[in-house]
């Protein structure tokens, strides 16, 4: 994460005179009886990359669809660059670009023709459109494939083209709904690099993602959404602070482990019972977070003593800052147990 950019963004957030680029106020969406988004309020400031995290079905895509005027909210309102999203939808649309989860590119047209269509659609003058199209194709690494039909492109190439399509009209805001899903690591890295560049250019980005490393790497602030509600938001440091934990502990166990037996043994460890534990059978790792009121030395003593008493062999014992994954799992698994400090969110 760009430290300089974070400070600038943090300053903007702290400065009450700066108007948010995206402002959502109590957005709610009902599909029949099913509540998909529940009183969602948040703000995204100019030049900020805000990541919206959540499980499948949490309401991320529904939120994006409402903010991009594709779906009318049941209640609530939102503004994009000061334009009311409901009453001034057409003006709001001229402010943003969208990269949706599905690659929405015309397969029979070439890369150049796809971009040219968007240029025509947004009324870009020809003398401005052509160099911009060439620049975007070059940036996306598609300059040598400009005249090839998109149907022949790989998923990664199509995804890069869809980002180029979204930013062609130079929007001030970019909505991205899981832009790197299904891509190989190399393509994902390229897209992350593009997002960092865009953020550096002052584009406000609202990103939904499953990939916690993506949010951790790119986002200035993160909001975690669960069952349609914004449960917590802030920078990673703020989130760590708010879940009342200061340290993640991870013990890689040796040999096969019976998860139920392990849980019974964990209950006998006083260090761990004060923090919720989590066993990952794939990595054979037991992890938990150390509560703030417990000194590290006491934690180490108690935990090692417990491992010795229970005769649990282990190959690795590490402590670290709670990762975003720790925070996310903590929040989505057992929200009631979380002591979340009240923090500034978008609600007025």
């Amino acid at each position: 994460m760009s430290h300089v950019n974070s400070i600038t963004v943090a300053e903007r957030i702290a400065d009450n005179r700066v108007e948010p680029t995206i402002k959502a106020l109590a957005l709610t969406k009902l599909f029949g009886e099913r509540l998909s988004v529940d009183q969602l309020s948040f703000q995204v400031f100019p030049g900020e990359l805000y990541a919206l995290l959540g499980d499948n079905g949490a309401g991320k895509t529904t939120t994006i669809n409402m903010l991009t005027t594709l779906l009318g909210p049941t209640s609530g309102r939102f503004t994009i660059c000061g334009y009311d999203g409901l009453r001034q939808a057409e003006k709001a649309k001229s402010m943003f670009g969208v990269v949706s989860q599905d690659v929405a590119i015309y397969q029979e047209l070439t890369a150049y023709e796809n971009l040219n269509f968007i240029a025509d659609l947004y009324g870009l003058p020809r003398r401005k459109a052509a160099p911009r199209i060439n620049l975007l194709l070059d940036t996306a690494g598609l300059a040598d494939r400009a005249n090839d039909k998109v149907g022949d492109f790989s998923m990664g190439m199509q995804r890069k083209l869809s980002i180029a399509v979204a930013i062609l009209p130079e929007p001030r805001v970019l909505f991205m709904d899981e832009p790197t899903v299904g891509l190989d690591p190399a393509s994902r890295l390229q897209i992350w690099s593009t997002l960092k560049e865009l953020r550096g250019q002052g584009v406000t980005i609202l990103l939904t993602t499953h990939y916690l490393e993506e949010a951790e790497l790119l986002a200035d602030r993160i909001g975690i959404i669960r069952q349609g509600r914004l449960v917590i938001e802030g920078t990673i440091d703020e989130l760590r602070h708010r879940i009342e934990s200061i340290r993640g502990v991870s013990i890689t166990l040796k040999g096969p482990v019976d998860p139920d037996d392990l849980q019974r043994r964990v209950a006998r460890c006083t260090a761990v019972v004060n923090a919720r534990s989590h066993f990952d059978p794939l990595r054979n790792t037991l992890s938990f977070m150390q509560p703030k009121d417990l000194p590290l030395t006491h934690l180490l003593d108690t935990t090692l003593q417990w491992l010795k008493q229970e005769k649990i062999p282990f190959s690795r014992f590490t402590t670290s800052e709670p990762s975003l994954e720790d925070i996310f799992l903590t929040i989505v698994e057992r929200e009631d147990d979380i002591q979340i400090s009240p923090g500034r969110n978008g609600a007025e």
Partner: protein, 347 residues
């Protein structure tokens, strides 16, 4: 305006990149005009047996001259009847060989009423044309001079039907395809994109489908032997108007039905029903009253009426036909606009 032109340009580019689609829709139109047209017009060279060894009648000559029948003469009645039961001939005229008896018995298989009707219609046609030669007290005359054949008469109705088919097919590709591919979102996320899309796509579908129909009619007319008439401007105009009407109605239907599978199924079934109900095949005058009322409730009746007028010169209320087609178009557009505005993200 730039958005409308952008979408038109893009749609035409896509249409040109799908030559197989263009070829198949043209072939479909040609197939309907020739095969359905020929079938409805009636068979020629129907294999017809004649037992008249003494040549007491002149049926052989008159039936042969009509080109409706291919006459096979028999010397033995039993052989003729055996060939009839073996379906080597479709019907048999048994001319009584008793000079005191003036009787001709027409024998058919009896198990195919459609054939029986064809035979009856064909024979009546021959007899009323040859009434003077045969000295029959039966004549067929027309109130107005007729300058077109049955084949000419069938084609305008088929053209109206093809307007429905081609507009529906093109619409399906133009709109539902975009919904399925999610590219539709690109258009509606642009400022005023939805309005531009409705105008642009209605225009492109109308023009594309009209080109296919005109091409099919021009290619088929000299081969199938029907006339396009002298009012080519009227033909072009009502083709465009009918296509526009069915494009708008189809768009409204697509917004209601949403998936390509349900849309094509509904359009196909409805098309077959409308083809028979709207005076395309059978004149509405020959239908029961309730069916006549039903025919006039749908736009195909009016486009068939207009096409007959411009292609055959028969009386047609062009203003009334055009008005009804425009009304249906407005209804389709209004339905589509309301539904598209409400359901943007779910399409």
């Amino acid at each position: 305006m730039h958005q409308i032109l952008a979408i038109i340009k893009k749609d035409i580019l896509q249409w040109m990149r799908r030559p197989l689609y263009f070829i198949s829709s043209t072939l479909l139109a040609i197939l309907i005009i020739t095969c359905v047209g020929n079938t409805l017009t009636g068979s020629n060279s129907i294999s017809f047996g004649l037992y008249d060894p003494e040549k007491l009648s002149q049926l052989a000559r008159y039936l042969g001259e009509s080109h409706r029948f291919q006459v096979h003469t028999y010397g033995d009645l039993n052989t003729a009847k055996k060939d009839l039961s073996d379906h080597k001939i479709v019907a048999l005229a048994n001319v009584s060989q008793d000079p005191l008896e003036d009787q001709v018995q027409i024998v058919t298989d009896g198990r195919n009423p459609m054939i029986d009707q064809q035979i009856s219609a064909g024979i009546l046609n021959v007899l009323t044309k040859k009434d003077k030669e045969l000295n029959l007290p039966l004549q067929s005359v027309t109130l107005f001079p007729v300058t077109f054949s049955l084949r000419d008469y069938i084609t305008p109705g088929l053209a109206a039907y093809l307007c429905y088919v081609l507009a529906s097919m093109n619409l399906g590709f133009s709109w539902i395809y975009e919904w399925m591919e999610k590219t539709y979102r690109q258009i509606i996320l642009a400022p005023n994109g939805l309005r531009a899309a409705i105008i642009a796509k209605t225009f492109t579908v109308t023009v594309e489908a009209s080109i296919v129909l005109w091409l099919s009619l021009c290619l088929t007319a000299p081969v199938a032997g029907f006339t396009l008439g002298n009012n080519l401007l009227g033909l072009a105009g009502f083709t465009l108007l009918s296509m526009f009407c069915y494009t708008c109605v189809g768009l409204g239907a697509a917004c209601l039905l949403k998936t390509i599978r349900i849309y094509t199924m509904t359009v196909s079934i409805l098309g077959v029903a409308l083809m028979f109900m709207s005076g395309v095949v059978i004149p509405t005058d020959a239908m029961p009253l309730w069916e006549q009322a039903g025919a006039k409730a749908f736009p195909m009746y009016y486009s068939a009426d207009a096409f007959k007028g411009v292609m055959l010169g028969t009386p047609a209320d062009y203003a009334h036909d055009a008005l009804l087609l425009v009304c249906w178009a407005c209804l389709g557009l209004a339905t589509a606009t309301i539904l598209l505005t409400k359901r943007k993200a779910t399409l």
